[in-house]
C-alpha cells in the first residue's frame, strides 16, 4: 500500500499549516477536498517539497497559498500567474503551482492565463471553478452558466461562459484536465501527472460554493451540488475540448482532455541563451 494512501492525516500534517486551522472556508465548500488532493499529489509526485512554490491570487480559492506548508505567495487579484512566471524564470529549479479561483484566473487574470499557456512555461495551474466569485459574496463570474442567478444577475445571467479547457487549448496549454470534487482519486492522479508534466498544465476543478452560488441556484447545501455532479458528470478522457462546455443543468464532461508535447519556454530560453553566449563578430 503506497505511503500516501496509508497515511492521509500525516500527509496533511506534513503539507498543511495546521496552526492555521480551522480554515476560513464555509461548511461544505469544495476547496477543502481539492486541496486535500493537491497535498497528496505533491507527495505522490516525489517532488522535493522544498522546491515547490504555490502562488495564489485573491478569492476563497486563493486562500490555498496560506494553508499549504510550502513556500507560498498570496498575491493580488488576478496576478498569481505573472508572479509565478517571475519565480519560475528566475529559478528554473522551482516547481511552480498556481492555485486559484475561476474569477481570479479567468476574469481579471484571463490575459495572464492565456499568455502563460501560450508560452508553455513550466507551471501547473489548478483552477477551482465554483462558477462565481465566492469571496465577495457570489457575483457572476466568467464561467457561470447562462441564466444562473447570482448576486449581480438577479434576472439570470445574460452572458455565456468560457469553456476553460477549450480556451486553454486554444492558448497552447499542453496538459488540460477537469474533474469535480467528487472525482477525488482521479483529481489526485491528474494533479500528480500535471506536476510532473513539463510545460503548462491546467487542471479545472468543479467545486461547490454552497454559501453563495449554491444558495441562489437551488443547491443551498454542498451535498446538493455533489449529488448534481454525480448525476451530471460523464468521464470522457481525450474528449475534444470543443465539446466540454458546461450549461446550467447539462452534463459535466470530466477527464483528461489534452496531454501533448511542445517545446517549453525553458527549452527555448536555453537555445537563445546559447546563441547569446556565442561570441559574434561585433
Amino acid at each position: 500500500m503506497p505511503d500516501h494512501e496509508a497515511d492521509g492525516h500525516s500527509l496533511i500534517a506534513k503539507y498543511l499549516r495546521q496552526d492555521r486551522l480551522p480554515h476560513i472556508w464555509c461548511p461544505a465548500c469544495g476547496i477543502g477536498p481539492a486541496l486535500n488532493c493537491f497535498l497528496r499529489a505533491i507527495d505522490k509526485s516525489g517532488l522535493d517539497p522544498d522546491k515547490i512554490s504555490v502562488v495564489s491570487g485573491i478569492g476563497c480559492s486563493g486562500r490555498v497559498a496560506g494553508y499549504v506548508k510550502l513556500d507560498s505567495f498570496h498575491t493580488t487579484h488576478g496576478r498569481a500567474i505573472p508572479f509565478a512566471t517571475g519565480l519560475k524564470l528566475a529559478n528554473p529549479e522551482l516547481k511552480v503551482v498556481v492555485f486559484s479561483g475561476d474569477g481570479d484566473l479567468a476574469a481579471i487574470g484571463g490575459n495572464h492565463l492565456i499568455h502563460a499557456a501560450r508560452r508553455n512555461i513550466d507551471m501547473t495551474v489548478i483552477c477551482i471553478n465554483n462558477f462565481n466569485y465566492g469571496m465577495t459574496g457570489g457575483q457572476v463570474g466568467p464561467t457561470a452558466p447562462y441564466d444562473v442567478r447570482t448576486s449581480t444577475t438577479p434576472y439570470g445571467n445574460f452572458e455565456p461562459p468560457f469553456n476553460l479547457p477549450l480556451l486553454l487549448y486554444a492558448s497552447g496549454a499542453t496538459y488540460i484536465a477537469r474533474w469535480t470534487v467528487l472525482h477525488l482519486h482521479q483529481l489526485e492522479g491528474t494533479i500528480t501527472e500535471a506536476l510532473l508534466k513539463p510545460g503548462f498544465s491546467f487542471v479545472e476543478v468543479i467545486s461547490p460554493c454552497p454559501a453563495v452560488y449554491g444558495r441562489m441556484n437551488k443547491e443551498p447545501e454542498g451535498l446538493d451540488s455533489l449529488k448534481s455532479y454525480e448525476k451530471r458528470s460523464i468521464i470522457k478522457n481525450g474528449a475534444d475540448p470543443k465539446e466540454v462546455d458546461i450549461t446550467q443543468n447539462g452534463p459535466i464532461i470530466v477527464g483528461k482532455f489534452i496531454d501533448v508535447d511542445r517545446p517549453t519556454l525553458h527549452g527555448s530560453l536555453g537555445v537563445v541563451a546559447e546563441r547569446a553566449r556565442k561570441p559574434t563578430k561585433k
Partner: protein, 93 residues
C-alpha cells in the same frame, strides 16, 4: 461513476481495515463523508458542535474498507483514518 477504490478483498478481513476518527472541533456537518462512504460506515448524528454544526459520527466502524474517501472528501480535514495494520497483515495477497 466509481468514486472510490476497493483497496483489498475486504471480505477476508475479520477486523476493520481502518479506524475512522472524526475531529469534533473541525467537523462542520457537511455530510460529504456520510453520503459518500461506500460502506455506510459514517452517518450524520444529531448532536451539534460548539459552533452549532451537526456532527458526523461513526455508525459501524467494522465495515470500513480503508478506502480513504472520507478523509479525502472532508472539507475540514476533520476525518482521520488509522489503518489497522493487523487486519491488513491478515490478508493474503
Amino acid at each position: 461513476m466509481k468514486l472510490w477504490r476497493t483497496p483489498f478483498d475486504h471480505n477476508h478481513s475479520a477486523e476493520p481495515l481502518a479506524y475512522v476518527f472524526i475531529d469534533r472541533e473541525r467537523c462542520k456537518g457537511c455530510g460529504f463523508c456520510a453520503e459518500y462512504c461506500p460502506r455506510d460506515v459514517l452517518k450524520m448524528g444529531s448532536e451539534l458542535s460548539s459552533k452549532g454544526y451537526q456532527l458526523a459520527v461513526v455508525k459501524d466502524g467494522s465495515k470500513c474498507l480503508a478506502c480513504g474517501f472520507c478523509e479525502l472528501i472532508c472539507p475540514e480535514f476533520a476525518v482521520k483514518l488509522t489503518i489497522n495494520n493487523k487486519a491488513h497483515s491478515e490478508i493474503k495477497p
